[in-house]
């Protein structure tokens, strides 16, 4: 019998469960290696060569090179591990989180100061909240894209 996964219908959200963890093991362990200053320096000097030392999929490597955190998460990455890439790049957690919404840094920061993203419309896939698939990317980027 399959495991119960009631969290699959939460919009814009990937739960890091055993399946994701298995898929992302090498990707996350690569991120973990960036906790050491010497490894950060080697990664920065030649990202592709450093990534090639890890038995990650080509898709995972491309997602890291593009700093596409949503893609990294879909491929098994976990945000607490991916945050090590952000730290290597000198990015704050807010900049990293914001990058996954399509909003500019300023737009995201302003949303947080105003009380954050509303839960309304964002509980279940199929509602009309701003985290739903049909409303991506968010902010000016989305307006421009849909105009």
């Amino acid at each position: 019998m399959a495991l119960s996964k009631p969290y699959l219908d939460v919009p814009g959200t990937t739960i890091f469960d055993a399946e994701q963890s298995r898929k992302g093991y090498q990707l996350n362990q690569f991120c973990m290696s960036l906790m050491k200053a010497a490894n950060r320096a080697r990664f920065k000097a030649d990202e592709r060569a450093y990534l090639d030392e890890w038995p990650m999929s080509e898709e995972q490597k491309q997602a890291v090179l593009a700093r596409d955190l949503n893609r990294c998460i879909a491929l098994g990455g976990n945000i607490y591990f991916l945050a090590k890439i952000g730290a290597t790049d000198g990015k704050s957690f807010q900049q990293m989180a914001g990058s996954m919404t399509g909003m500019s840094e300023e737009e995201y920061r302003s949303m947080m100061i105003k009380g954050g993203r509303s839960i309304e419309g964002n509980r279940v896939v199929g509602e009309d909240g701003d985290a739903q698939a049909h409303r991506q990317p968010q902010g000016q980027a989305g307006k421009a894209g849909r105009a």
Binding site: A37, F81, A83, F93
Partner: protein, 285 residues
């Protein structure tokens, strides 16, 4: 015998640590947040414990995916603040209490909770930010600290129910220790926040405040809330709040004593991506 005098609950957002370390606490963005902890720092001075039992989670710092302990108790003599990629926080090292920690481990494991015993571990912002919020910037932390790390990174995390029962087992363990030590138990993390995906930035202040109400008045009922409610209502990282139920389970009223006294309650949005909640509950004498 040793006893638990109070429990403290607080978020442990890394940006709060960075604001303290970089001298930004008087910037307009941060002023309202730190104001909410002024009472707490004074209270800590007036109610200095002999030991803090500090429940927190490691954020892929001491534990990678090589090993993922659900509950880990730090039994070392000391713990070094970790380098999380930005260099270690300039805070005092954390002095442990190996004797009491080992006693608690032995008692709690015999009470059916399979703890992982950790004799070497660096501690990240999950542990040091609450210490900074409650103690300010001292040369040394005011007392020994027993780190207690809970897995909230890889799903499934322990249920609220199990955390609440674990708190009760910790209370029994503390009360079977002969030395007359005064302990505080702290539950940290939360409140609502989500750090990933298009739903990043989610805040649910109404849900958070109801959580605080229920944590004070009816923790037994609150402990029955399933994981999916935390994820859906408080964000994927809001699930850290189960850790607060460990501290709450260790309070006297849960074992038939008097209800605790609410000494302080504070709520603020935002700190970076997160809703900050804070409570101090004292056991009635």
């Amino acid at each position: 015998m040793a006893r638990i005098t109070a429990s403290v609950y607080t978020s442990h957002v890394p940006a709060i640590g960075a604001a303290i370390d970089q001298g930004k606490t008087t910037e307009p963005y941060w002023v309202p947040l730190f104001k909410g902890y002024e009472y707490s720092k004074q209270w800590m001075k007036e109610n200095k414990p002999d030991v803090i039992f500090l429940v927190y989670n490691d954020h892929a710092t001491a534990f990678s995916l090589e090993m993922i302990p659900t509950f880990a108790i730090g039994t070392a003599a000391e713990f070094t603040p970790a380098d999380e990629g930005y260099g270690p926080r300039p805070v005092p090292k954390v002095i442990g209490h190996p004797q009491l920690a080992s006693h608690i481990a032995q008692s709690v494991i015999q009470d059916d909770f399979d703890l992982t015993i950790v004799n070497k571990m660096d501690v990240d912002h999950g542990l040091t930010v609450p210490l900074s919020l409650m103690c300010g910037e001292p040369q040394a932390w005011p007392c020994p600290v027993i780190p207690f790390a809970v897995n909230v990174v890889q799903y499934p995390v322990p249920s609220g129910r199990r955390c609440f029962m674990l708190g009760q087992a910790i209370r029994r363990a503390v009360e079977s220790y002969d030395e007359p030590l005064k302990l505080q138990i702290w539950g940290t993390g939360g409140m609502s926040h989500q750090l990933q995906g298009p739903r990043a930035g989610l805040i649910n202040a109404e849900w958070d405040n109801r959580f605080l109400d229920r944590l004070i008045a009816d923790p037994e009922d609150l402990s029955k809330v399933p994981h999916i409610d935390y994820v859906r209502e408080a964000g994927s990282e809001g699930i850290e709040l189960v850790m607060w139920l460990i501290a709450r389970g260790a309070m006297a009223d849960v074992a038939g004593g008097k209800p605790p006294v609410v000494k302080h309650r504070f709520f603020h949005v935002p700190a970076s991506n997160t809703a900050v909640g804070h409570l101090i509950l004292e056991n009635s004498q």
